[in-house]
Amino acid sequence: MNERDNPLRPYPGRLVGIKNIAQDIKLFQIELKDGQPFDYRPGQFAFLSAFGVGEAPFGLASTAERSPVLEFAINRIGTVTDALHSLEPGAVVGVRGPLGNWFPLEEIKGRNVVVLGGGIGGAPLRPVIHSILDHRDDYGKLTILWAARTPSLLIFTDEYEQWAAAPDTELHVTVDEGDERWSGHVGLITQLLERVAPSPENAVAIICGPPIMIKFTLLTLEKLKFQPQQMLMTLEAKMKCGIGKCGRCNMGEKFVCVHGPVFWYTEVARFLESFV
């Protein structure tokens, strides 16, 4: 049987780099072995296997345009992520994907983009930011609102300078709780959002974060007069297969793995089941 015919088969990838990017969060850089094709777009995800423990889905944090190396920002929170965190560069992991849909970046060309990332939820938004920065003229104003519970949990801090320096781009960072070295904004992302108050005019908001953050960010965006058809989000769910079989990630009749993970608010609002 052709190997490609087994959608549950992971492909070996080598960890070529591991960076500590925040407390208990590492950036894993993976090179697929044997030149396996892996064509993906911002917003898609893949399953990573820590052989001996199992596999779990993670949003891709890189863009194919910038590098052939796949990047994943992973928070150590469960058994699989624990095992991944214990690996050293050179180790082999399994990669299965790309899976799911992607952000309609073509569709939103010419519009202002507001990116709202909460905690590890910022990971799948990084390719959005990178894509916009790499095609800066194709989009209007880029406003990035970036949040974490504490300063030590902020991800991709080494890129903030570069993001903020890009033309027509604003970066606003907040933490729920500061520390002695933190001089930036303290407060929830919703408070930051109210303060920054990006205009809904010709804009699209893209959100990712914990369910509770998405819920309240949507409410705040509505207050700012964003319409449901201007709000995009990427959702997280427990998954075992990523191909609509295992039955675990449904929200009503929609599977986060195949119908998502990227959804317009107009779609989410029609879900029978709440995502929170």
Binding site: P7, L8, R9, G78, V92, G94, N250, E253, E273
Partner: protein, 350 residues
């Protein structure tokens, strides 16, 4: 159509066992001689073990296509090298005396696991490797409601061979080429005798159309219905169409040359409290109301939308197995009544 006797059928089965695994209804003794028995589809070594006269087995035969536990991959890991072997099933199987409802259950699973791409390689392979020998029910048994859900006790649409019990033996109908090929060696005579028509009378169970379900989603009814639910997995495990699974790795052996790992897939159940709980603790389906409602919506609303088929075949097993008397036919009746009430109320307002 062919006519054969039970003895001839048994001889054919015995010959078949030489070259394929034959799975058939078998009586299993429980409790070490306490006198209770269970009827289960199991591999048989001789036709003497096969139970020909039965109502329904305790478990559906889905486990021979989507096993309760199977090895997806055998993995060898040596320092920084990993090799993966697919453990695809190779054995030829014959499923003897499958009931029309269970065969229809496989059609539902096919829609989900094969026709909805990408196909599940393991399930698809087992389906290809298996020949289904159907056995018509003369009528509906207690708890059965196949006719209410589009099936029939003598529906031959989903089997390769159909058997009908008649005076003097069985009528054998070849449905597919695969079935014809399997029948080689069966001692039978050609006959003009038509297949007997089973008695289709059964309970009248109104099944609400898929599009009518969403309006009922937030009704208090679901909380009341699930009050008595224990959140066990029995209904989902006996169900011929439930297919939820879990995947995990097991390290089986470690030696100087590396470790041997198996990636296992096992049945899982949407009734489990932790089914949707994500790492970090968030659970979008926290109560048994959420879970039981999801199960029924999955069957009657989600699956029809996603895979084009109601994921219930009316086999009645979930009714028979539920330790606290939750009854899917009763639910269907109440849901239909509820929908009618809501519609009335809507009209009143309009």
């Amino acid at each position: 159509m062919k006519l054969t006797s039970r003895e001839q059928l048994a001889a054919w089965l015995d010959a078949l066992m030489e070259r394929a695994t034959v799975i058939a209804p078998r009586q299993v003794e429980c409790g070490g001689g306490s006198g209770t028995h269970l009827l289960l589809y199991q591999p048989v070594a001789s036709s003497a073990e096969v139970v020909f006269d039965f109502q329904r087995t305790a478990m559906s035969p889905k486990g021979y296509f989507l096993p309760s536990t199977e090895v997806l991959f055998e993995i060898e890991k040596r320092s920084n090298e990993v090799t993966l072997d697919e453990a695809l099933p190779q054995d030829e199987q014959v499923l003897f005396a499958i009931r029309p409802c269970d065969a229809r259950g496989l059609r539902v699973l096919d829609a989900l696991l094969v026709e909805h791409e990408p196909a599940d390689a393991y399930y698809a392979q087992r389906r290809r490797n298996t020949t289904l020998v159907g056995l018509a029910c003369p009528h509906l048994w207690p708890e059965c409601f196949c006719t209410a859900i589009g099936g029939a006790p003598d529906d031959s649409a989903d089997v390769d061979i159909m058997l009908y019990e008649v005076d003097g033996g069985y009528l054998v109908s070849e449905i597919t080429e695969k079935g014809t090929a399997l029948l080689a060696g069966l001692n039978a005579e050609e006959t003009d005798q038509p297949a007997p028509v089973s008695d289709r009378s059964g309970p009248s169970v109104p099944v609400l159309a898929p599009e009518a379900w969403p309006a009922l989603f937030n009704e208090l009814y679901w909380a009341r219905l699930s009050d008595r639910c224990l959140s066990c997995h029995a209904c989902t495990y006996v169900c011929p169409t439930c297919r939820c699974f879990d995947v995990r790795d097991y390290t089986r052996a470690a030696g100087p040359n590396g470790i041997h790992i198996e990636r296992l897939r096992s049945w899982d159940s949407c009734m489990a409290a932790a089914y949707r709980r994500i790492a970090g603790g968030h659970n979008p389906r926290p109560s048994k109301m959420h879970r039981l409602r999801n199960r029924y919506y999955c069957k009657f609303n989600y699956c029809p939308q996603d895979f084009g088929a109601v994921a219930c075949v009316g086999c009645g097993r979930c009714i028979a197995v539920c330790p606290v008397g939750i009854d899917i036919t009763e639910m269907l009746g109440e849901v239909a009544a509820l929908a009618a009430t809501l519609e009335e109320r809507g009209k009143g307002k309009g």
